[in-house]
Amino acid sequence: MASIVFAIMFYLATLLFVVGLLYRINTYARTPAPLKIPTTPAPTTTGGVVMRMTREVVFFESLFKSNLWIWGLGMMFHASLALVLMRHLRYFTEPVWGWVALIQPFGMYAGITMLLGLCGLWGRRFFVERIRYISTPSDHLMLLLLIGIAASGLMMKFVVHTDVIAVKGYFLGLMHFNIQALPADLLLLVHLSLVMSLLVVFPFSKLLHAPGVFFSPTRNQKDNPREQRHLSAWAKKLESEKN
């Protein structure tokens, strides 16, 4: 029974996640940027912008300039999360890809550093006066959700094991619309429920910072306003009326 309920929920959550995210990205992409507003000094070429975005997305360059504590904790969380996600690919691939097999041990410890990073970020929301002032309940809940995911995952790895072979069978089955039995372990069900919640809230919350950063005009625009005329569709209309 749980297998079927979870299967339906997973399909729905994934659908919401994908459709919601595509809808948001589409909105960002279609909204015009009428003026050139890169935060300067800014690159003047497309190659330069790609480099700037890469530094921003991979190394959090601006955050590094701003505050080493936030940068360190944020980096620890995000890099760990990336490793953990890659490690989880083993549940969705058969045979497991070589590089996924290779990073398994790192991914395991990344779960721990991810949890530490999250706890550090959460601690700041209590102990730093300025951050406490700006924090909303949802900011706390979001961290709590991620901490719950990390903690339940780690518990399964280090304390109460679950039948990972069966879990893998279940997800491979899901991917082929062939629903298998899901082990009825409490920790596993908690872990999966929290992950589904994350998928659902993603397109409606501040997690939109992930796609958002790629559309940020202060970062992704070339600084060439004198060399090339930049005109949005709605601004162009003003011109034809006059001219």
């Binding site: 935060t39 300067t40 730093v128 600084d223 004198r226």
Partner: protein, 509 residues
């Protein structure tokens, strides 16, 4: 104004503790009916302000990707919280960039997002009440749109964009700020921000010719409305009679004279400043910019050069090509822009900053200087926010930092830098930018100058600095006003071309 005092310097540059409500209040003077209606805004706060404000917000969200993305992307990480000069100076938490943004973001969430409609408390969403609206008016008029926060935000969120949107919404419901709207009215009515009519301007320029003749014995001209001149100089109107601005105007004229450049001012475009940007109104921004296009077409000039003015240079460099076609690279079918661009000389960047012009001439060896004329000065350079973070100069990113410094070093012997986390892209606003340069905001202006004054004091103590050069009319006006409150001599501040003017040798080449 006797009760306005400078805040104490921080012994260590620590992040100040919060003082909630420290800058609560009514904000600056509200624009009256006459000022608002002259710009096509409702005369006073309209009856149905709530619905119209939300509708306007929806419109802006669909027109500006910046606003759309910035409303969603913030994660409340706190990276920006200690970066605003107004927060540092006032300690009011609502002057933290993220909190300033949240004044609008909370309303965005309530009306434009599902979680905010369903669970407002959970996500910090708020109804747009009269209290919230007044809070907008107060705190969005305590932002100088200097973009310092945008340097540090991991998503590049620029509070200036949000402040502009907020002011645009407020104007659209008849709740605009007096100072900015009055000035925009003057530009349209008289031709410049200071309301200096054509005849008075011509008089002033003739007086200047006499002054320079008396001081140097050389006939340096200050031409106006000369058809067929090569260069059209567009400069902030403060340059025509405010101190110390006027000394830089004399500097530009001497550079043109010494290099044999034929140039002219324009009575139609006797203002480089564009307060349309401050109130975030594209129509105003465009209308004010179009004056320069018209003047350039009418006078038939080949080059357009912009004087020392921070936000004017941002508008000129980043927006003029978009707004009015003053620039290069318009498509073949773009008749509107081509009409002007065909006339301009594209061996030079269009528009050109006066510092680019002067530095180019120095590199070509077309100018001679007696550097010792500036020996009485130990000079530091204050990067103006709009130049530093909203524009560039020359061919390489960062030219906006190097070129003014290169000029100073070419015309003077003593140059010292201020603390590196307060210069270049991390420079602090003077405290008077973005439409805040009005006496009814003097308190916030004085407090906002604190971080700059602290590091200036440092170089004064350590190196005996006695001159802070800058290339912005607002910086110059703001510093001459607030520096005495911090115990500095107001004559310590001046333009880069003031130093050029001191050292330039006329009639040598």
């Amino acid at each position: 104004m006797a009760d306005i005092v400078a805040p104490a310097y921080r012994t260590f540059p620590i992040i100040p503790a919060l003082k909630p409500g420290a800058m609560e209040g009514k904000g600056p003077y509200v624009a009256n009916e006459k000022l608002n209606e002259a710009l096509g805004f409702p005369g006073q706060l309209v009856e149905d302000w709530h619905d119209r404000a939300i509708a306007k917000m929806g419109e802006l969200l669909s027109k500006y990707r910046s606003l759309r993305v910035f409303m969603d992307a913030c994660v409340h990480c706190g990276a920006c919280t200690d970066k605003c000069h107004y927060f540092i100076g006032t300690q009011d938490p609502k002057n933290m960039p993220v909190a300033r943004q949240d004044l609008m973001r909370s309303v965005y969430r309530r009306y434009f997002t599902l979680p905010g409609k369903l669970f407002p408390k959970l996500v910090g969403a708020r109804d747009l009440t009269r209290e919230v609206l007044d809070e907008w008016y107060n705190y969005y008029n305590q932002c100088s749109e200097c973009r310092r926060c945008s340097v540090f935000c991991p998503y590049g969120i620029d509070t200036a964009e949000i402040t502009m949107a907020a002011r645009e919404i407020l104007d659209s419901i008849g709740y605009g700020q007096k100072y900015s709207n009055e000035i925009i009215g003057k530009v349209h009515r008289i031709g410049n921000n200071l309301g200096l009519p054509g005849p008075a301007l011509i008089d002033t320029l003739e007086g200047l010719e006499e002054d320079v003749k008396d001081a140097t014995g050389v006939d340096v001209r200050f031409p106006i409305d000369v058809k067929g001149a090569e260069v059209l100089l567009v400069t902030p109107s403060a340059d025509f009679f405010a101190e110390p601005h006027i000394d830089s105007l004399i500097g530009y004229a001497k550079v043109f004279h010494a290099t044999g450049t034929s140039w002219t001012l324009s009575s139609m475009a006797s203002e480089a400043g564009n307060f349309g940007m401050f109130i975030g109104n594209y129509d105003q921004l465009r209308k004010i910019a179009l004056r320069i296009r018209e003047a350039a077409l009418e006078l038939g000039v080949k080059r357009i050069v912009v004087g020392e003015c921070g936000h004017a240079w941002r508008v000129a460099y980043s927006f003029w090509n978009t707004l009015s076609g003053v620039g290069g690279g318009a498509g073949e079918v773009d008749r509107f822009a081509q009409m002007l661009q065909k006339q301009l000389d594209h061996r030079y960047k269009q528009p050109t900053h006066i510092c680019e012009f002067t530095w180019d001439m120095i590199e070509r060896n077309a100018l001679t200087f007696d550097k010792s004329a500036n020996d009485k000065h130990i000079i530091t350079f204050h990067d103006s926010c709009n130049v530093a973070r909203g524009s560039s100069m020359g061919n390489l990113p960062g030219g906006q930092f190097e070129i003014p410094r290169n000029i100073i070093k070419a015309v003077a012997n003593n140059f010292v830098e201020m603390a590196p986390n307060t210069t270049r892209e991390q420079t602090f606003c003077c405290g008077g930018g973005g439409g805040l340069l009005t006496d009814d905001l003097l308190d916030v202006r004085v407090k906002g100058a604190l971080p700059r004054m602290e590091v200036l004091q440092q170089v004064v103590d350590e190196h005996g600095v006695n001159f802070m050069a800058t290339i912005c009319a607002i910086c110059k006006a703001q510093f001459t006003k607030v520096m005495p409150i911090y115990g500095f001599d107001r004559r310590m501040v001046g333009g880069v071309h003031q130093l050029v003017s001191n050292a330039i040798q006329l009639g040598q080449k």
